[in-house]
Symmetry: C2
């Protein structure tokens, strides 16, 4: 599939897997969705990093105190959805509530969209969505550390210059500002 539509509106276009690291490397706050036994959930996450360019592998910490932990460990599937600036209030609310008690999608007005390769939903409002499978759980018991591989990546063509949201702790978010370009051989 190369595009996902909601009604007549294209909400997601296919993104080359070789470009995924450019989304994750700057360390944006992201949303992580899971689906277990028919129930989808979403959490806010900021502890993640790239592990490999291609196929893109991502390490992330999902605390066993989070309701999403059990779903992620059991289903070995998730979506990393990357919100832009406009979603900061919702991202904070998602991070401050538990899916054990409420349906956070409904409560906070986030639209779950069926993914192609995993049962966890994409989030229509996010400018990028990464469908992931857990490929290694051997650091989960010690560090709550999951190794993910990105199977499919989506980008919202309507969000042309999204500002992402690095997290500075305790509800303080820094927004990407000035971009400085230097000659570099670094990938």
């Amino acid at each position: 599939m190369v595009a996902i539509t909601l009604g007549s509106h294209v909400v997601m276009k296919n993104l080359s897997l070789s470009k995924v690291y450019q989304l994750i490397e700057p360390g944006p706050v992201v949303l992580l969705t899971t689906a277990c036994k028919g129930h989808a959930n979403v959490m806010t996450m900021s502890w993640h990093m790239m592990v490999e360019f291609e196929p893109p592998q991502i390490a992330c910490i999902v605390s066993n105190a989070n309701h999403s932990f059990a779903a992620l460990r059991a289903t070995k599937e998730c979506v990393i959805a990357i919100p832009a600036l406009e979603l900061v209030p919702k991202v904070a609310k998602v991070g401050n509530s538990s899916g054990q008690k409420i349906d956070k999608f409904k409560r906070y007005g986030l639209t779950p969209v069926p993914a192609e390769r995993v049962a966890a939903p994409l989030i229509a409002e996010c400018y990028a969505n990464l469908e992931c499978k857990v490929i290694d759980t051997s650091f989960v018991a010690r560090y709550n550390l999951f190794i993910l591989e990105v199977l499919k990546a989506w980008i919202d063509p309507a969000q042309t210059n999204p500002q992402t949201i690095p997290h500075h702790g305790y509800g303080s978010f820094a927004v990407d500002g000035e971009i400085i370009k230097l000659k570099s051989r670094m990938r």
Copy 2:
């Protein structure tokens, strides 16, 4: 030790380990120093994440293609030095050269300063320096993934409002801009 001076100038003050995650979580580009057999080296790194708040644990990817890889694996010690905006040109140069051929400290005008707990040097020009030991190498063979524990943290009291440098790939750096504060229970 609570402060480090160069001449009469205090370049580093002790920082509480409980605050280390606030430095790493936003995903700044960092410099990683090592020292092996009397030779110090420095590389640029952007694949890292927090693993635990306290004691602070950090995961990072150091490619086995990097000259620093062997030193880090052999000595199990390093310093994560966090540069602010002014150092972007040096950070890019460090990332585009190899310590196998040159002394990058001398070449690029970075000042190595003896650390307290590790042999790897602090960098005087950086606004924060984290002395780290490698506590787990069991993911090194598979993913070049090291788990570090921060033993001691330093902050430059003269750099009061440093702008850090998230990396967007291929020499494009985004500089933290606007800060948005929201009521939050997230740490």
